[in-house]
Amino acid sequence: MSQHIINLIYLLAATLFMVGIKYLSSPDTAKKGNFLSMIGMAAAIGATLAAPEINGFTLIIGGIFIGTVIGAYAAIKVKMTAMPEMVGLLNGCGGAASALVALAEFHGNSTGFVPFTLLTLLLSLIIGGLTFTGSLMAYAKLQGLIPTRPVTYPGQQIINGLIVLATVALSWLVFQDSTNILTIAGVLVLSLGLGVLAVIPIGGADMPVIICLLNSYSGLAVSMTGFALSNNALIITGSLVGASGIFLTKIMCDAMNRSLANVLFSAFGKVDESATATGEIPAQTMKGGEVEDVATILANAQSLIIVPGYGMAAAQAQHATRELADYLGEHGIEVRYAIHPVAGRMPGHMNVLLAEADVPYEQLFAMDDINDDFAATDVVLVIGANDVVNPAAKTNPASPIYGMPVLDVEKARTVIVLKRSLNVGFAGIDNELFSMDNTMMLFGDARSSLQKILATLKK
């Protein structure tokens, strides 16, 4: 196949990648996007295989076969909950591949390179290597194979600094003589070490961000390889992934309320305090929900029961509640309210407020009339209620409210609780609902939480 046609196919592949990424950013088109991107990849690989330079196919077919088996097996077997670490692992493979390609290029060329090519090859080697070990570390942290908490030791920053310096120095040597495979191997080893040391001081909770960042790095490595090989497909795709990855990293940081600088910085040795703090909150036991996630859950529900409590009254969130319910109702979601007899601070407290906000009486259900329906409900939205949804009343004979009928919210598929903190309610007792598997907490004043959810839904 002529190089021109191959290049045209590369252009097509790059276009498909771009469209694919665009489609991936909306739930409606994401699947199609992934599919288009696959086609692009297949086309690019096919075109490359038809390139005149490629003469021997045994190793290639063998390699592709082995890779496909391993990749497919891993992708099919992995549990849904382990997806982030799986992505990390795969990304590590990509990084390693880039580093290896650079290594091969170094190895196969005994005449030396122009400086630009040399630079890009070195960068490809370093970034690829760093991505490889960094991704492995992230995987290990998420799998719990090594401690999830940030690992720090005295002089960490100095050591990291020294390794960076050493890498630069060795690279300089490579510039002097690009045929000395020893210095090149040294650079590779140092970059592998850098990957380990950069990730080790970061807490497990930040790993998804790190994986995303490393993904961006591996894109960069690919694009460097592209420069070295004068291959536009690699340049485009690599920079596409690099740029989108760094951007996605930023978006993820924003969603976590941390700065990219903060993550990037802590990634290079300084023990960041907020990272430590994040590590200490028992993330496993209390699912703090992002507004967006809550919105997505609500948007995808078929049936919703709203359980208002004193917190709704205290936040004067009745109007915001009705607005959200109206919006969801208009979008085909069945919305009902479950009113516990003692919710609030006076008999009928919830009624008075909901009536003020014009919630139709038909949507209000007394506890006895709705308690059996929770089990068949997609989502329960608990707005500032606590005691009246405390399962201890049913399960814990030692509890002061044992025996009081409560709303069986925990039977629903998902429970979302809007509250400002984990503080207790009127009866002053803890509530294990908040740490149940199907419960998601959204902390904050109920009114503003509701408003945020609605604004997100409307986007």
């Binding site: 950013s25 699947k31 992934n34 992505v87 978006i251 996630d293």
Partner: protein, 94 residues
């Protein structure tokens, strides 16, 4: 490699960076992980380099071994990446 090629490469690099950054600007949080995974699969395009490194020589030598390894790893990235993405997207209804 001449300077002209480098500059064209840079041009393409800059444009692609813009396109990449802008394409992603509006993604909702629930799609963060699939998107990360999908673009990770795309970055498996390094396989092209691996293929070129492996296919070059007729004889079996240390370069082709390195290339072979690279092909395996890159294929894992590509195949695994797309499948994982696909599985995640399966979970979205509607």
């Amino acid at each position: 490699m001449d300077t002209g090629t480098i500059i064209i490469g840079l041009t393409i690099f800059v444009l692609a960076c813009f396109a990449g950054a802008e394409l992603i600007a509006k993604v909702p949080p629930t799609l963060h992980t699939p998107l990360m995974s999908g673009s990770n699969a795309i970055s498996g395009i390094a396989i092209l380099g691996a293929l070129l490194a492996t296919g070059h020589p007729e004889s079996f030598n240390s370069i082709s071994v390195i290339g072979f390894l690279a092909v395996i790893l890159a294929t894992i990235n590509v195949v695994g990446g797309y499948l994982v993405t696909h599985r995640m997207l399966q979970m979205f209804k509607k």
